[in-house]
C-alpha cells in the first residue's frame, strides 16, 4: 500500500506530538500504579462535566490540522480494528500528511473520555475535517464507499498533490 508508507512517517510524528499537546502525564502505561490510579480518578471526574482545560485542549487539537483523527494507537500501530480501518481509508484517499494530525486517546484518559463528550459521540475513532465532526468508523467507511469522502476531501483541498508516480521516502 504505497500511499500508506508515504504517509506513515509523518503520521507517526504527528501522533507522538500528541501527548504534549493535550495532556500532562507522559506515562502511556495504564498498568503502572500511578497511571492506573490517575486513570480511575479521571474516570470518576469526567462523569460530571468536561473541564474547561480539557475542552480547550480538545478545541486546540481539533484545530491543529485540517484533518484530525482521534484514534486508539498511532497511525503506524493502531490498537483497534476500527481505528486501523479509518487510518487506512485516509491513506487510500491520499490525505496530505502535512494537513493531517492523529491523536492517540490511549495515551490520555482525559482525552479519551473528553472527546466523547466534546463530540457527543460514544466511540473512538472520531474524524474531524476543518473542525467539523464527520463521524466514526461506520460513517468513514460508508462515505469512502459512496464517494462522499473523496468529494469532501477534494473540496477541502486536503489531498496530497501527486508528483508523478511513487514518491519514495
Amino acid at each position: 500500500m504505497l500511499s500508506r508508507s508515504i504517509l506513515s512517517r509523518q503520521f507517526r510524528q504527528t501522533a507522538s506530538a500528541t501527548a504534549s499537546l493535550v495532556s500532562r502525564p507522559a506515562s502511556s502505561s495504564l498498568s503502572s500504579t500511578p497511571a492506573f490510579q490517575s486513570f480511575f480518578r479521571a474516570t470518576v471526574a469526567q462523569r460530571r462535566l468536561l473541564s474547561d482545560t480539557t475542552r480547550q485542549a480538545i478545541t486546540k487539537a481539533v484545530a491543529s490540522a485540517p484533518v484530525v483523527l482521534f484514534m486508539k494507537g498511532t497511525p503506524e500501530t493502531p490498537q483497534c480494528g476500527f481505528s486501523r480501518a479509518s487510518i487506512q481509508i485516509l491513506g487510500l484517499q491520499g490525505v496530505d500528511p502535512e494537513k493531517f494530525a492523529a491523536f492517540n486517546v490511549l495515551e490520555d484518559s482525559e482525552l479519551r473520555e473528553g472527546i466523547k463528550e466534546f463530540s457527543d459521540w460514544p466511540t473512538i475513532p472520531q474524524l474531524y475535517v476543518d473542525k467539523e465532526f464527520i463521524g466514526g468508523c461506520d460513517i468513514i467507511v460508508s462515505m469512502h464507499q459512496s464517494g462522499e469522502l473523496a468529494k469532501l476531501l477534494e473540496e477541502k483541498k486536503v489531498l496530497a498533490v501527486e508528483e508523478g508516480e511513487g514518491k519514495k521516502e
Binding site: 486508539k72 480494528g81 476500527f82 481505528s83 466511540t123 468508523c137 460513517i139 462515505m143
Partner: protein
C-alpha cells in the same frame, strides 16, 4: 469490566421499541465476551436524515447500553433504502463488519 446484561436480543428489543425499527439485526462480534456488537437498523425515523444524524439518533437511543460495551457499529437505513438494497443484492448484506477481523473485533481490551 462492569457486568452487563446486554445481549443481541436486548439491543434488538431496545431498537425496535425506541426507534420504531421495522427490521433489526444485531450481531455479537466480541467472540464471546458480549461487549461488542454490530447492527443493521431499518427505521422510518431515518427518513430525511443524513448518516451522521441517523447515527446520533441511534447513539442517543442506546446511550446507556453503548456506554457499557466496548464496541458498537451500526448501519442505518430507511425502509425504502433497505428494500432497494435487498432488491439490488438479492438479500441484505447485514450489519457492517468493517474494522473487524473475520467478523470479530480486535483490540477491544484496550
Amino acid at each position: 469490566m462492569a457486568e452487563t446484561s446486554i445481549t443481541e436480543s436486548s439491543l434488538t428489543a431496545a431498537l425496535t421499541d425506541r426507534l420504531k425499527a421495522t427490521h433489526v439485526e444485531v450481531t455479537d462480534m466480541s467472540g464471546g465476551c458480549g461487549q461488542s456488537f454490530t447492527s443493521l437498523i431499518v427505521s422510518p425515523e431515518f427518513v430525511g436524515k443524513n448518516s451522521l444524524k441517523r447515527h446520533r439518533l441511534v447513539n442517543a437511543a442506546l446511550k446507556q447500553e453503548i456506554a457499557q460495551i466496548h464496541a458498537w457499529s451500526a448501519k442505518c437505513q430507511t425502509p425504502e433504502e433497505w428494500d432497494k438494497e435487498r432488491a439490488a443484492t438479492g438479500g441484505s448484506d447485514g450489519p457492517p463488519l468493517d474494522g473487524t477481523t473475520g467478523g470479530k473485533v480486535d483490540g477491544v481490551s484496550q
